[in-house]
């Protein structure tokens, strides 16, 4: 089938401002949007720049704005996205475009690092050499937020983040949630102090764009709500 692909192109070294690159290509309806982009890059215009690594929805490299919604290009089928023979692709919003689909992810990762995204446990390791034990219910508690692949779909779909890049953003809060609600972790207080800052969780207006955008199906807004509740009550349950 024929596909008219509209891609927002921008090379800051050459272009004064972004422009729409329009490409007519032949695709299979069961192809993914990523396949269409690769078809353009490999056969039409080799200057098109995009990130992708695994191409199977795990590495989180190819987050982009497809028909106005943040999606992973490798998880969207052409037949689901095509409207009037056309698909529109833009880079994710709120981060500086370096070239075409490639944005500067550093502010995103700076927010990620700010919430201490690693297990903190000062107790000595169990003497029998086995792992730190946790009940099934305790593991279940933060299961949803372990699914994050740091693709930035959620953070760059958030109007609060668009308006103010200092907002720590949904992805960082999801990562904080993953450790705050882990019974083996001992740094909940430090993480909650970061998130109680003026650019922490209180910037969230429960818009739910993040939940809609998440390619892993994480209930992001719910996780943010649980962090807010922990800050409000001081109880992590």
């Amino acid at each position: 089938m024929k596909l008219h692909l509209k891609i927002k192109r921008f090379n800051p070294e050459i272009d004064k401002k972004p422009y729409w690159g329009e490409y007519d290509i032949e695709v299979d309806e069961m192809d993914r949007v990523l396949d269409a982009l690769q078809e353009v890059k490999w056969t039409v215009d080799g200057t098109l720049a995009l990130r992708r690594s695994c191409a199977h929805g795990i590495c989180g490299s190819d987050a982009m704005r497809i028909n106005g919604r943040n999606r992973l290009a490798c998880k969207c089928l052409i037949k689901d996205e095509i409207k009037n023979g056309q698909i529109t692709v833009e880079p994710i919003l709120g981060l500086k475009v370096q070239k075409d689909m490639i944005v500067d992810m550093e502010p995103f990762f700076a927010h990620y690092r700010s919430v201490l995204p690693f297990l903190v446990n000062k107790d000595p390791l169990p003497e029998n050499g086995r792992e730190r034990l946790q009940t099934i219910a305790d593991r279940e508690r933060f299961d949803d937020t372990t699914k994050c692949i740091l693709c930035a779909c959620c953070t760059t779909s958030c109007p609060s983040f668009w308006a103010r890049g200092e907002y720590v953003g949904p992805a960082a809060i999801v990562q904080a949630h993953r450790f705050i609600f882990d019974s083996r972790d001992q740094a909940a207080q430090e993480r909650l102090e970061v998130l109680s800052e003026v650019d922490g969780v209180w910037r969230c207006r429960t818009v739910f764009n993040c939940t809609d955008a998440c390619p892993r199906g994480i209930e992001v807004t719910k996780a943010i709500g649980e962090v807010k509740a922990a800050l409000r009550t001081g109880i992590i349950a």
Binding site: N128, R130, L133, Q134, T135, I136, A137, D138, R141, S160, A163, R164, S183, A188, Q189, L192, E193, S196, E197, V198, G200, W202, R203, R205, K228, A230, L231, R232, T233, G234, I235, I236, A237
Partner: protein
């Protein structure tokens, strides 16, 4: 070697200090205030709307009805007057603070120049203060027909 087993259904509940840093308490309190004032305002503003537009009626709305509820200036204040004054004090106070805080959130998001943000917030707080002061005058003084 003994293998430690745990009750799979057991859930750990931990506590932290809910207000970690003093400078962050304000944001937390503001957020809680927005939730509760919003909820209360739903009932207050809807009942106000119901009273003025449906019970009294838009076309029958006269200053006399307000005076009857509010109490005329100089006249003795009845229990009914006290109720209505408190009712409208609640509406004005909650709506003003709810609106001011909402405006603060939006201004903080979009005004990246801290000086501009501060100036806008001082101006907005001034407007709210003047309007609230007018409300306070009416609260204490009662309704007066200005000729």
């Amino acid at each position: 070697m003994t293998i430690q087993t745990l009750n799979p259904a057991q859930r750990t509940i931990r506590t932290v200090k809910p207000m970690p840093l003093a400078r962050n308490r304000f944001e937390r309190m503001a957020w809680i205030f927005m939730r509760f004032s919003g909820l209360i305002l739903v009932f207050l503003s809807l009942s106000h709307f119901w009273l003025q537009h449906l019970i009294v009626g838009t076309h029958q709305l006269q200053f006399g009805q307000t005076v009857a509820r509010w109490g005329a200036a100089g006249a003795p204040v009845t229990i009914e007057n006290v109720f209505w004054r408190l009712y409208y004090v609640a509406i004005i106070a909650l709506a003003m603070l709810h609106g001011l805080n909402g405006f603060r959130q939006v201004a903080y998001d979009y005004l990246n120049n801290r000086g501009v943000y501060r100036g806008v917030m001082i101006a907005a707080t001034g407007v709210i203060a003047v309007v609230s002061l007018m409300g306070l005058v009416a609260l204490l003084g009662g309704a007066t027909i200005v000729k």
